[in-house]
């Protein structure tokens, strides 16, 4: 029929995207055309459903008004997506473009399914939207906020993204930036105009900066294929919505034999080691996906599988800054715990920290306020929680790390565990300072100090603490994996009732 032919022909045109010059520009920047990009993500290489294809169809330069929206299947899982088409007016957000974006968010909420954003947009299409930024139909960040913690939101940023549109990437639960991508609240040109600073897009808001300094980016991808692989892995770790459990997979033995765990942890409590080695000897082989690996590296966080089931890991990293907790690592820990708790992902804490960092620099950085957020997130998390005292558990560090007083379902100590208010050097110095200073003979003073330290250390001997049930159990390190698997199984139907309130007053957990 002629009518059907007409639709098919028009669809064919729309699928080609923007004009030739738009395609050339996209290619010159080393980026894929949006429909080729989607092929890297979706099972059949194309959307499962797509709506708004005819948006602005009367105008040949505005195919689908510059955005592809709909659903697709990623390894069999249905997700909603919104993907800007940079070949159409540089992916700019015009009226129907914005409407399509928001309608897909609303649809994802109704369908209770995850949403993937493939962001490649130069921002608002100012020329066509007079009162654009205040219209009700452009409240995309409103919907980002409402969706947060209800359905997973994953974002990939492909190009440069300045001003308002740069909020979509940061509203996502997890953000991947292409290595040449950049985002900032104001473009370099605007920055120059309003404050007089000369700065390049990369220095201002490049992927490296956001991954290592601002902490706004979780992954940097070198290629579009790599970005798609990361998204697929993330979808594999996350449930459809906050009422569902994350998907299971086949269990795998760890890469390193758990019998080696005891050798990984050095006997000298002040010696660093890489906690990733401990993680490898404990979780399913090749399952660990670290988030924000370049940011606040003294804390390692990420998803993994344990006997096929998804877990979140929060681990102090003794090889970076001694594993002390800084303002930045507090934010990182709090954010990750909040993410896991939202999506029913049980948490394993691997505690080996000398505590929260001390000194004027961190006080100015808000160590108390931001450290509080870390403790808050842990305290409020109702998913199953296992606290493993690997080695040092000094001071308030163990509170943030879900220690015995912070309502974990179980606290397991390894034989290297040291739970104390502070280490022996600091404690003896604090308590016996005057007494020690009064001893004039240096050798004698050193001897007394050593005896006091030894006696102090004996006070938190792990066998003694296990005897007093400060920890629930002391386990041979080789049993760590087995014990965690069994405790998570035992607590899989955990339910915790808390006092009714509107919500906590602490934001940013």
């Amino acid at each position: 029929m002629e009518r059907e032919e007409k639709v098919l022909k028009e669809l064919e045109r729309i699928k080609k995207g923007g004009p030739q010059r738009g395609h050339e520009k996209q290619k010159a920047e080393g980026k894929l055309f949006v429909r080729d990009r989607l092929k890297l993500f979706l099972d059949d290489g194309e959307p499962y459903t797509e709506f708004g294809r005819f948006a602005r169809s009367g105008d040949p330069e505005f195919a689908a008004d510059g955005i592809v929206t709909g659903t697709g299947k990623i390894d069999g899982r249905l997700v909603f997506f919104a993907a800007n088409d940079y070949t159409v007016k540089a992916g700019s957000i015009g009226r129907y473009h914005g409407q399509k974006f928001i309608l897909s968010q609303i649809a994802a909420i109704r369908a209770r399914k995850p949403m993937v954003y493939l962001v490649d947009s130069s921002g608002a299409r100012i020329d066509e939207t007079g009162g654009y930024h205040c219209e009700r139909s452009i409240g995309l960040f409103y919907y980002h906020s409402i969706m947060s913690g209800f359905v997973p939101q994953i974002g990939v940023l492909y190009g440069t993204c300045f001003a308002g549109t740069a909020y979509t990437p940061v509203f996502c639960d997890v953000l991947i930036m292409m290595k040449d991508a950049a985002m900032a609240i104001a473009s370099p040109r605007m920055v120059k105009m309003v404050i007089g600073e000369d700065v390049t897009p990369q220095a201002l808001g490049g992927a490296q900066m956001h991954a290592s300094v601002s902490g706004s980016c979780d992954f940097i991808a070198d290629t579009e294929e790599q970005a798609a692989e990361i998204v697929k892995k993330l979808v594999g770790f996350l449930p459809d919505n906050s009422d569902c459990l994350p998907p299971e997979a086949e269990a795998k033995e760890p890469k390193t034999d758990p019998a080696k765990i005891d050798d990984i942890i050095p006997p000298d409590a002040n010696r660093p080691y890489n906690v990733r080695k401990l993680i490898e000897a404990f979780v399913d082989a090749d399952s660990f996906l670290e988030l924000k690996a370049k940011y606040a590296q003294e804390l390692v966080v990420g998803f993994a599988r344990l006997g096929g089931k998804v877990i979140g890991i929060v681990a102090n990293q003794p090889s970076v800054k001694g594993g002390a907790i800084f303002p930045e690592s507090s934010d990182k820990g709090a954010g990750f715990i909040w993410l896991c708790d939202a999506y029913n992902i049980p948490l394993v804490y691997l505690c080996d920290t000398p505590g929260f960092m001390a000194g004027s620099a961190v006080e100015r950085g808000g160590i108390l306020r931001r450290g509080r957020n870390f403790i808050f997130a842990t305290s409020c998390a109702t998913v199953p929680r296992v606290c493993v005292v690997v080695r040092k558990a000094y001071g308030a560090g163990i509170y943030a790390m879900s220690g015995p007083a912070y309502d974990p379902d179980i606290t397991l100590a390894l034989p290297s565990a040291e739970l104390a208010v502070m280490g022996p050097e600091a404690a003896i110095n604090a308590v016996f300072f005057n007494k020690l200073q009064a001893i004039e003979d240096k050798e004698e003073r050193a001897k007394v100090e050593k005896n006091l330290r030894d006696a102090y250390r004996e006070g938190y001997n792990i066998f003694k603490l296990a005897g007093e049930m400060i920890v629930d159990d002391l386990i041979p390190p080789r049993d760590l994996r087995k014990e965690c698997i069994r405790y998570f199984e035992a607590y899989k139907d955990k339910h915790v009732d808390r006092p009714k309130r509107r919500h906590a007053t602490i934001v940013g957990g």
């Binding site: 660093p272 000194g359 620099a361 961190v362």
Partner: protein, 71 residues
């Protein structure tokens, strides 16, 4: 290139002398902070041109520990 201190603490060891060749990842200094030994590595391969600290110094976060000419 400047070697910047990332964690406030006291210098317990200076493992390098001026004009020494260093490889990326070599340990230049050991600090003691929070009763932990913190190793400071060189961010790049090069020649040490200047050392700004000595044993016993308290060094704040963000201070320059050494300068390296990249090779």
């Amino acid at each position: 290139m400047e070697v910047i201190n990332e964690m406030a603490g006291t210098v317990t060891e200076v493992r390098v002398s001026p004009e020494a060749d260093v490889q990326e990842g070599d340990v230049l200094f050991v600090l003691e902070s929070m009763k932990m030994q913190i190793e400071v590595q060189t961010p790049a391969k090069g020649i040490v041109r200047k050392i700004h600290v000595e044993e016993g110094d308290f060094i704040d976060e963000g201070s320059v520990l050494a300068e390296i000419e990249e090779v």
